[in-house]
Symmetry: C2
């Protein structure tokens, strides 16, 4: 990440995380090695390991215990991405061909499981690895799974509420950001006050991140970031701008009709986009994302001035401009 150019000490830690990742996913089985390395080599932003490190730097930072945890969190995230791709049947994951489109569902399912195991293994091997850490990790993954299934359960349901949407993205995205901050701070023996601040930061950061992602998926701008677009809509997953529009009677019926259409060409997509835009759904979503960004910023005001705090604020600005 460009941002880290100014912080060579943190970039160094991130480089070690990358090395750890590559080292961890080795396997004697050649195809496993290939797919696992490929999965973790994609150009992820590594936001979660970064949050682990930044949080830990607010306490007694010990790279020996922190970096494996940071890598483990990235492995968990990567595993859920690989499994997500199976569902999306998307050809691109993070700007590359996905494991499943290259190797089939078989390999994708078990590559994901393999990565999950490796993550658990890293956590369990971790020197100080206490049970509390471990339970947090597992709870987080459990909640992610529930979030993903909830998402499926609500597919094509036009009566989904904003509250239900927020619960879903909290589960599938924000929790892991929050856990990243928590684990880092906990390991570094930060005070309860700081841990609490970081957990709140991670949560709000994650919410803002996902809402922004959902808006970009709808507007199609996400393609600039190398991801496929409109995947949610085409799979009947309705995100905030759509839900907002469905709840505003002037546009609701027209949108429902459009969503029922079988034909899914470019024309269809731009009609939906126009409607959502007119209704104020895009604007509303952007504003809600901003609210979360403000909350995240407020949460960490109590932190002492330091690099971690500076970078955490810069990350919020990056979501706002969505340059990452």
């Amino acid at each position: 990440m460009k941002l880290l150019n100014q912080y060579p000490n943190i970039q160094k830690e991130m480089d070690i995380v990358q090395e750890l990742l590559i080292k961890t996913v080795q396997s004697r089985q050649p195809l496993v090695k290939k797919t696992a390395v490929e999965a973790i080599s994609s150009k992820g932003k590594r936001l979660r390991p970064l949050l682990v490190i930044l949080s830990a730097m607010l306490g007694e930072y010990d790279s020996k215990t922190i970096l494996p945890l940071a890598a483990a969190i990235e492995l968990i995230h990567t595993a859920t991405l690989v499994h997500d791709d199976i569902i999306d049947e998307s050809k691109l994951g993070r700007g590359r061909e996905s494991i499943q489109s290259q190797w089939g569902k078989d390999v994708a399912v078990f590559t994901g499981d393999f990565l999950l195991c490796k993550a658990f293994f890293m956590i369990s091997q971790n020197g100080k690895g206490n049970q509390k850490d471990f339970s947090r990790f597992i709870q987080a993954i459990k909640i992610i799974c529930e979030g993903e299934i909830q998402q499926y359960d609500f597919r094509y349901k036009t009566n989904i509420t904003i509250r239900q949407y927020l619960k879903r993205i909290a589960a599938k995205t924000a929790i892991l950001f929050s856990v990243s901050c928590y684990i880092g701070a906990l390991q570094a023996k930060c005070s309860k006050k700081i841990i609490h601040a970081l957990v709140r930061y991670g949560m709000s950061f994650g919410m803002a991140f996902q809402i922004t992602d959902d808006v970009l998926d709808l507007t199609g701008e996400i393609s600039l970031l190398g991801k496929p677009v409109h995947t949610d809509l085409l799979q009947g997953i309705y995100t905030l701008p759509i839900i907002y529009t469905l709840q505003h009677s002037r546009y609701s019926e027209r949108l429902k009709k459009l969503l029922q259409k079988e034909e899914h060409g470019q024309q269809y997509l731009s009609e939906i986009y126009d409607l959502v835009n007119q209704s104020g759904g895009v604007e509303y979503s952007k504003q809600l994302a901003q609210k979360y960004l403000i909350r995240a910023e407020q949460a960490i005001r109590i932190l002492p001035d330091c690099d971690s705090k500076k970078i955490m604020i810069q990350l919020l600005e990056m979501i706002l401009d969505r340059t990452m």
Copy 2:
């Protein structure tokens, strides 16, 4: 299992495992709860928890620590079954409609992950839960994943060797049986000698079990057990009887031609079966399974006479008659 009618004390433990399983997979998300409960409610034989219990009974048996481990192992097994079904695209898992054919791949992927998390959680929460246990579990799952991917990697390869086949079934099946015995015996503080005997028993048991399963899949007799048949063959997964035939020049070329055919009707299947039968492939496989059964029986000869030993021997006989 009928066998346990004569051992009410063990049946009682197995009933508690069943209750634990149901209790563990609860979720606030209604669909998750439904699919997870369904996955663990299917009529599995619960061989792995049984082996955990039987092994532990050879030492200082403490149901409070043993039964959660027994349940956790069954959860791991169930998770891999759910993920397996995605790959098989099979409509029946254990005689019922599979999660994926009922709810789609989405739900199946994350139901499997959810079950895996629950298993890890149970293990990590376990009172005496030491790191050694935990690492064993994770190593086992890792190896299962590698086995599954190896299986995929060798699809449609007619030059697969018997050695490669044995390695594959060791990874995808036998290891977990072996770990079941190991974990039970370790927790119950059995002697090294007994632990070693049980590990060997579990391994040979698992090998015999899988070879028998593979033969039945080919002969179609497995349908009596409520499973779909010929699934391996139709997916290009060549099992022992096929591999044996491919290595015997008199039949090799004819079989290769048959395997390349696009048309997969009943006629095709019985032609293959006839050829494999003629070549002695079925007979060879049955004999190899028997060899493993004998090895398993030999491994536990050193055990004192007790219910565990008796049941373990009866389990071997059940594989031989394949009444389970």
